[in-house]
């Protein structure tokens, strides 16, 4: 029997990996995938806690998070396409038309 702590450690590791990806990656799609990894880390934690408590709230929460993430993907990819059209690159370091 695996303890709930094991899942939480795994989810914390995923979350930190995702956060590092957001900070270190320069490609917009990879940054975006890192955010998705963070969301999934939270999902894993929610499911593990729901299993621990024997309740359904956590499972239902995860369904909603997945739905919201799908909506976010739709908007995010559309934005990335729009960016690519205007400057043939999706490197986020090049997003500096505005300063100050």
């Amino acid at each position: 029997m695996v303890e709930v702590e094991a899942f939480i450690v795994l989810s914390a590791a995923l979350f930190i990996l995702g956060a590092m990806g957001v900070v270190l990656r320069r490609n917009a799609i990879l940054v975006f995938m890192s955010v998705e990894l963070m969301l999934n880390a939270a999902n894993l934690a929610l499911v593990a806690f729901a299993w621990h408590w024997g309740g359904m709230d956590g499972h239902i929460f995860v369904f909603f998070v997945i739905t919201v993430a799908a909506a976010e993907v739709a908007v995010g990819l559309a934005l990335i396409v729009a960016i690519f059209r205007s400057r043939q690159s999706i490197n986020i370091d090049e997003l500096h038309l505005m300063e100050g």
Partner: protein, 505 residues
């Protein structure tokens, strides 16, 4: 509790109405042709303004009751914030209608309505699931709106920044939520507090603090408090002006309502873990964020050349002032909640007024530079006067509403024994006065080559100015009714906190 549809309906009446309005606008967008398309904006305006009456007609019972399976609360606090969001949406529709670019864009109004729906739900959320969905329902449409000028590099670039920061912040916040759920095994906000107060957390202070910080990051992003403000200036500048106006009031109002609910319902006074008052840490975060937001916002605003960027830094500073009121919540006085509600109520009108004038000015001149405002008092005296009233209100000069709003906030801070924080606020207001006055001076004193070219204002533009100027002045001269309403909201909020100890598991 037995589920009864008609009893539960008033709790989400505005949201229900917004959903219907969204479908109507979508249908009109499909069927109307030619000049008739101008009506879409008016339908949106009158629809949202009418919906703003529903919370006043269907007053909630005293106190705070949970409806729809414990997802939303029906209380005065939610009502006052819903009215704010709905009026913000209505006035934004007028601002958009006064621009050639958006007047006939049906989808623009549709997305505004959906975002307002999210912000309304945010102010009434009573459950972590609802909080998360409401936050995202507000944010995702806003990402789309910021990028509304698809061919414009600035618009798309600012939307990309907003999107990456925003989705990062909500992922961080969600991780905090998963911790809270892990502590208590329930997603209901007040039940989480009851569980933590029951001593089940024993000495595990660290995880609670981690969850608290993660959640605060999410809120800090939404209300554009320093150090989570990086997106604000770029998004305010890059987004089309009507969108900027909406972002600066609606999503902010909803987030502040939620922030107060979190502080009072999830981390109320009396939760002691490992010998430490949990509330103290939360209040510490709020105070630190308030001080640096005010200071950084005001100092950086001093050197701005673009009016929308100046207003972006000003709105960071304004968020700092409001956080003073949130920090005063530690004293659990009704004044604290009421002053935050009142400030945001008047801020809705004031900020929409200022951004509305900017939108009208840009519409006819194509410029957003502060120096180009020169001679505005001769090109259109009414526009210059409206802008002056708006800026004086932001600066906190009577008789505009900003003065009485700041007075209430600082009073709340003094009542909570945070005199020094009120002093920091006053000092910052003096710095801020400088850059607002510079803009007024440029409009009235500086000469420009275009002095003889008048600026025309369209009918919806005039309606918008009339509503916002009147509201700003009336709220400043007769604050009583709205403030009393805000006090009712405060007592409803504290009733929830008082009841948390008696919840049964």
């Amino acid at each position: 509790m037995e589920f009864n549809f008609l009893d539960s309906l008033p709790a989400i009446a505005p949201e229900f109405g917004l959903l219907i309005l969204a479908i109507v606008v979508l249908a009109l967008d499909l069927y109307l042709r030619g000049d008739k398309r101008d009506n879409i904006a008016y339908v949106t305006f009158f629809g949202m303004a009418a919906l703003a009456l529903t919370p006043i007609i269907w007053q909630p019972e005293a106190g705070s009751t949970e409806y729809w399976g414990g997802m939303v609360r029906h209380d005065s606090l939610a009502q006052i914030f819903k009215v704010m969001v709905l009026l913000a949406g209505a006035i934004t529709a007028l601002i958009a209608a006064s621009t050639r670019e958006f007047a006939q864009k049906g989808e623009f109004y549709l997305i505004i309505i959906v975002s307002a729906l999210g912000a309304c739900l945010m102010s009434a959320s009573a459950d972590l699931i609802m909080v998360f969905i409401a936050l995202e329902t507000t944010s995702i449409p806003l990402y789309v709106l910021v990028a509304f000028r698809r061919e414009d590099k600035l618009s798309v670039e600012s939307s990309m920044k907003y999107f990456l920061f925003g989705s990062f912040a909500s992922a961080v916040m969600l991780y905090g939520f998963s911790f809270l759920y892990g502590f208590a095994g329930t997603t209901n906000l007040s039940a989480i507090a009851a569980h933590m107060a029951s001593g089940a957390m024993a000495d595990n202070l660290a995880p609670v603090l981690v969850a608290m910080v993660l959640i605060f990051v999410g809120f800090g992003f939404k209300i554009s408090a320093v150090p989570f403000h990086f997106w604000t200036p770029d998004v305010y500048e890059g987004a089309p002006t009507p969108v900027t106006a909406f972002i600066s009031v609606a999503s902010k109002a909803g987030s502040f309502a939620l922030l107060m609910r979190f502080l009072v319902e999830v981390f109320p006074q009396g939760i002691v873990i490992g010998g430490q008052q949990v509330e103290e840490f939360w209040v510490g975060l709020v105070i630190a964020s308030a001080v640096i937001s005010m200071t950084v916002g005001n100092v950086l605003a001093l050197s701005q050349k673009n009016i929308k960027r100046l207003l972006a830094y000003s709105s960071i500073a304004q968020a700092g002032y409001v956080l003073i009121g949130v920090a005063a919540l530690q004293a659990a006085t009704a004044q604290s909640v009421a002053s935050v509600s009142y400030y945001l109520f008047m801020y809705t009108f004031t900020n929409l007024l200022v951004f509305g004038v900017v939108a009208l000015f840009t519409e006819s001149t194509g410029s957003e530079t502060i120096a180009d405002l020169a001679g505005l008092s001769r090109r259109n005296p009414l526009l210059a006067l409206s802008m002056t009233i708006g800026l004086l209100s932001l600066a906190g000069i009577p008789p505009a509403a900003g003065f009485i709003g700041k007075f209430f906030l600082f009073q709340a801070a003094v009542e909570a024994n945070l005199e020094w924080l009120a002093m920091v606020g006053v000092l910052n207001a003096i710095v801020a006065l400088y850059y607002y006055l510079v803009v007024i001076k440029i409009m009235y004193v500086d000469r420009s080559e275009d002095d003889d070219k008048p600026i025309a204002v369209s009918v919806p533009g005039r309606m918008m100015l009339a509503i916002t100027v009147t509201a700003t002045l009336i709220l400043g001269i007769i604050p009583g009714p709205v403030f009393d309403w805000a006090l009712e909201g405060a007592s409803a909020l504290f009733e929830v906190a008082a009841a948390f100890g008696t919840l049964v598991f």
